[in-house]
Symmetry: C2
Subunit: 380 residues, 2 copies
Amino acid sequence: MPESKIQQAPHKILAIPGPIEVTNEVLDAISQPPMSHVSPGFVKIFRECMDMTRQVLYTTTGMPFIIAGSGTLGWDEVSSNLVEPGEAALVVNTGYFGDGFSDCLRAYGASVDHVRAPLGDVVPSIEIEKALKKRKYKIIVVTHVDTSTGVLSDVKAVAKIARKVSPEILVIVDGVCSVASEEIRMDDWDIDVVLTASQKGLGTPPGLSILVASARAIKVFENRKVPVTSYYASWQKWLPIMRAYDSGSPAYFATPPVNMVYAYHASLKQITVGLEERFRAHQRASERIKAVAKQLGYTQIPKRPSIAANGMTAIYVPDGFAPKEIIPRLTEHGIVVAGGLHKEVKDKYIRIGHMGTSVVDERRGDVETIEKALKASVRK
Amino acid sequence: MPESKIQQAPHKILAIPGPIEVTNEVLDAISQPPMSHVSPGFVKIFRECMDMTRQVLYTTTGMPFIIAGSGTLGWDEVSSNLVEPGEAALVVNTGYFGDGFSDCLRAYGASVDHVRAPLGDVVPSIEIEKALKKRKYKIIVVTHVDTSTGVLSDVKAVAKIARKVSPEILVIVDGVCSVASEEIRMDDWDIDVVLTASQKGLGTPPGLSILVASARAIKVFENRKVPVTSYYASWQKWLPIMRAYDSGSPAYFATPPVNMVYAYHASLKQITVGLEERFRAHQRASERIKAVAKQLGYTQIPKRPSIAANGMTAIYVPDGFAPKEIIPRLTEHGIVVAGGLHKEVKDKYIRIGHMGTSVVDERRGDVETIEKALKASVRK
């Protein structure tokens, strides 16, 4: 790799819940000339990405699938590889992304039931347990952080209940807005699939679908009775490829996005230096931003601090203000934030992302900039 | 955009049939800090990518779909949106990629027939006509350049026969290894879908699936009877998004790969400056490389010069040599080439890519380097 280090041009801080700010090292990596996807150099980088992805999720036995796509592609992987047409899925639904995952499951023929949380809340364990006892489910799906509301579900608890009631169930965590910003201990918590994307806690531009499957999930896949009902998302195609790269050999199904993989590698190298400190940095930044917002009259969508995400903040704007005036003011003061996404309250709230280098590298001063912009946003 | 221009570190020329060498401008674009996928700045870039994609294919009415993925994802789009389970597809099969597309069609429930060319040849028009008269097909699929053999099909002629026999048929061109290195006039030739990827003639790193659908194809899609059988590849999801960006507004289904889109935009700006001259540059380079190879005792896989691709060369190594000794010699002399892929002759030939900036920017001297390396490869 050449020694030239990219210096980013001055720009407003990207403080939406993904894509996020990335480091100079990540941009330096993404701008390397493409190399052959079957070269020893690329195989090494890809293999290290697989290993570091495992580290981030505290798993030694999980099988990573790293594919050109968005987080959504992970839904297709689960729906077409792990559920056979007619089989039942239980969705622990905390909002927009629970609805989306359900649509995807149904598109591939699953029979989907929901246990729904009210807006801003999580589903009580007792309701999940009740639902699990009523019907035999192949999988249970939970969104770790619903990016539409900033609600954080207790996936460890969900996995525990599910495993207790239904030992063979596959526990699927949609970690698109949580991986590397919230702790996930895949092996200890006995989770079967964590799926995510590159552009949030993982600090890489968007363009990679990243999924890790447990040995149990792979076994269920290998024992399925009917052929996989997708092609680009099919593990029949990808599993031999991932196994080959994992053992140090190249293999070909579809051309991997080599520059995106360089970028992901560079980011993972920075992330895996200190995971626990990284989670703490997210918690500290989140507490600071949420406290300032509260002082200013903003109200959290999540109903209690214990169910609020650490990588983002979803807040109703103060009385007398509207997102459509607040958002441009925030931009004027240096930060780009996102509008509402949950259909019930779309025009009443804003979403601020605070993940990755923005909260880990204090020299950047991004958290201070977010705080200052919030203060300016409600100044008369 | 900042003025800093990336200078690529010295490296061996990537002369495989994709990914290929890219320009400094493309790497400069890909290394910009990510921006919000719903910002006006990004909407403008995405919209221009759609327009320039149309230009490359000489269509004014086609609808582009630009999605994070590989070329293979285009197969899923066709198979799950345009063919309903049980409907018939005719595959004009010239090798590895015809087999792959068929697998994909079958995964989504299509009934697939083939007309097969012998290795190194195309399917005679008369056989295609005969097949079309025997059964009513929803779509006919043809691989423009089969990357496994370098065979170039006459897609204009295939479209003409298909339309004559079966006016309502959808003509699908797999242009992964041909778009921007071979002429394709989508409107004039009455082609319904061209699908491709970013990393070949389009001169961008891999990671984008690019597909353009005719108004006829969109209408067939909109009139389908059963729901689309995929999710990430579903036009039910993507068509409203693409229409929104096309009219200058953002919309959200899955996060677009913003840095990849910057890179694609930078490459399209360079490509659309002079398309016809670009095709001629590919032809000139191809003739030169093929002539040198012939002098040295290499033999083309394509049986006649008229059916050989202009963006790549697939050649049997001379008697007394093996790819496994030739390939490292070529690397030693500065070029990275690919091994065989077609199962019948996998260990007897090599593949050289000569697309994009390597053949368009003569100052690089890449064609000369390829010629010199080929000469050195058979020196005793």
